[in-house]
């Protein structure tokens, strides 16, 4: 059974059809990519999956449950983690605290526990620290745990955002252009991290422009153009698909 299933999803902004009649599914333990030219609607799809926008039509099913009308924080708690194309870190906090903050999704205590400092708070805090250490190790940021997040270079900010998403203990993570702005070494780290994430039975859905990366690590690819799906399949087939080649190469004006 699919872990994430999207059916007939649509979203317009004013006159712009950002996403139209989109259906696809992500199987558990898969690494799947959504690709497409700039403005194709990829980020909008993520925002619909996470509940940042309400869809005009269609449903999102996660682990067999219709989550279409749930608020973003509820979806995060259910196991949908994400990163943002324009990295949104908490710059005032340390690297470690960024990830610990994310444990809010999976490790919640009631307000009185915090107010009166029940023993459960200290216990949970230790768990949060462990989760953070593990997530930071996975992306290779364990040595920077104490640094202010605001001091990280651009590439490591993207990696930290992934670690933060992992802090929610997700079943699926949605990564929006994780390789953007990364140098070669960092892209390598990212590649290892994504595989390691999958090895921990976390499903990965990513939006990415780095085709080398996509072709190398993905099991399946969905191609969007002007909000609609034009192809779906394994990397080798997608590379040879005429419509995909046309979308990317046939209309160079769109890629400017």
């Amino acid at each position: 059974m699919a872990l994430l299933k999207v059916s007939g999803l649509a979203k317009s902004f004013g006159g712009v059809k950002a996403v139209s009649d989109l259906s696809f599914a992500v199987a558990p333990n898969q690494i799947k990519a959504i690709i497409g030219p700039n403005g194709a609607g990829k980020t909008t799809v993520f925002n619909l999956l996470c509940g940042v926008f309400a869809a005009d039509a269609g449903t999102v099913e996660f682990a067999g449950r219709n989550i279409s009308s749930l608020a973003p924080y509820v979806r995060a708690r259910l196991g949908v983690g994400r990163t943002f194309q324009n990295t949104l870190l908490f710059d005032e906090m340390s690297v470690e605290e960024n990830v610990m903050a994310a444990t809010e999704a999976g490790l919640r205590l009631n307000a009185f526990a915090y107010l009166f400092r029940w023993p459960a708070v200290a216990r949970a805090e230790r768990q949060r620290r462990e989760i953070a250490a593990e997530a930071l190790k996975l992306v290779g940021l364990q040595d920077k745990a104490r640094d202010p997040a605001g001091n990280l270079p651009a590439g490591e900010r993207r990696l930290l955002e992934i670690a933060r998403a992992l802090g929610t203990r997700p079943e699926i993570v949605l990564l929006d252009e994780p390789a953007a702005g990364l140098n070669n070494a960092e892209t390598d780290r990212l590649k290892h991290a994504i595989r390691a994430i999958r090895d921990r039975s976390i499903t990965v859905l990513l939006v990415e422009h780095d085709m080398g990366l996509v072709m190398e690590i993905c099991d399946e690819i969905v191609v969007l153009d002007q909000g609609a799906k034009i192809a779906e399949g394994p990397p080798l087939l997608i590379q040879e698909d005429d419509r995909v080649i046309e979308a990317y190469l046939g209309r160079p004006a769109d890629n400017a």
Partner: protein, 327 residues
């Protein structure tokens, strides 16, 4: 280890600070002790407001109303129903918390100026109710002969003893505030303050987090109100107006909203100034307005937070020059 040691130093500092405060009645005359009590009462409200402003990133221009609600609740219950003032103060705090919850439910959906206006309106409405519900509240004349707090046969009146009640209340509210700030709750709040979209993406229920802090700050304001009522043994609507709400916000901003302790120091500073300039009341508002503007321009994080940052840098420089001291 390092974090533990720092925490130990912080707590030692707080304990020593309270020890010093506890010895104040030995040195200060009655007039100064009155100011000390008023400071304590304001500090309790300001702890809650600094959580609201500095951590949750919200604002309230209606806290004087919640403060008044606590005062009136406790005054009415103890004078008319003859209940024990210790109980009625707690009841006042809880009722003010409940009112804050009900106000926050719709108001916290608003942002920025709109939230400021909504809370301002709520504060004004509460003050009008203190005047208009004259059957219960005594109208413009207020309520007098409010019973004193007692421990057994010991009456805690305006002499030194009451100071310790307020000091204990300050300690408890500081403890609660720091428990919130220095925990996952505080982290979630800072996350929300940093970016609401990102906070939601990691499971923070932002609406609820705001409402929780607003409610807690209401409880603090109500508690302060009860303490005020049983200290003066007389209250009237004049004491709970919008100018006080604004003064409270000024205390938080001038002290430093992102630290409850700094905000508390701001409350102490402004209370002292406003008590000394009581005779020139209009001018003191002008003075506060001006200092608010100056602080926001030159020390946007607040006087005490900026001072602490400068001190930290100086210490770091000295330590560096001498070489590492530790390990």
């Amino acid at each position: 280890m390092r974090a533990n040691r720092r925490r130990l130093v912080n707590w030692l500092g707080i304990v020593c600070g309270f020890g010093l405060l506890a010895s104040l009645p030995l040195f200060l005359n009655d007039f100064l002790m009155t100011i000390a009590v008023v400071i304590g009462i304001n500090v309790i409200i300001v702890f809650g407001l600094s959580l609201l402003m500095g951590y949750a990133g919200q604002i309230s221009l209606g806290h004087a109303g919640l403060y008044g609600l606590g005062a009136y609740t406790s005054a009415v219950m103890s004078t008319k129903l003859h209940l024990d003032p210790w109980l009625t103060i707690v009841a006042g705090a809880l009722l003010a918390g409940a009112a804050a919850y009900l106000i926050g439910l719709p108001a916290l959906r608003l942002r920025g100026h709109y939230l400021a206006m909504a809370t301002l309106g709520a504060g004004v409405i509460m003050q009008i109710m203190f005047v208009e519900l004259s059957g219960i509240t005594g109208g413009p004349a207020g309520i007098s002969s409010i019973p004193n707090l007692k421990i057994g046969h010991l009456i805690l009146d305006q002499t030194g003893a009451y100071f310790y009640v307020v000091l204990a209340a300050v300690a408890v509210s500081l403890w609660l505030s720091l428990n919130v700030v220095r925990s996952q709750k505080g982290r979630a709040l800072r996350a929300m303050h940093g970016n609401e979209l990102a906070a939601a993406s990691i499971g923070v229920d932002t609406a609820r987090a705001k409402l929780f802090i607003f409610t807690l700050s209401g409880v603090f304001a109500g508690l302060a109100g009860g303490l005020y009522a049983h200290y003066l043994t007389y209250i009237s609507p004049d004491s709970f107006g919008t100018s006080l709400s604004i003064l409270l916000v000024a205390m938080v901003v001038i002290g430093g909203s992102q630290s409850v302790v700094a905000a508390g120091l701001g409350a102490a500073l402004l209370t002292v100034i406003s008590e000394y300039f009581r005779t020139y009341q209009d001018w003191s508002l002008v003075f506060f307005g001006l200092s608010l503007v100056l602080v926001m321009i030159f020390a946007p994080r607040g006087l005490f937070v900026e001072t602490a940052a400068v001190a930290k840098r100086l210490v770091a420089r000295v330590v560096k020059r001498r070489g590492p001291v530790e390990s």
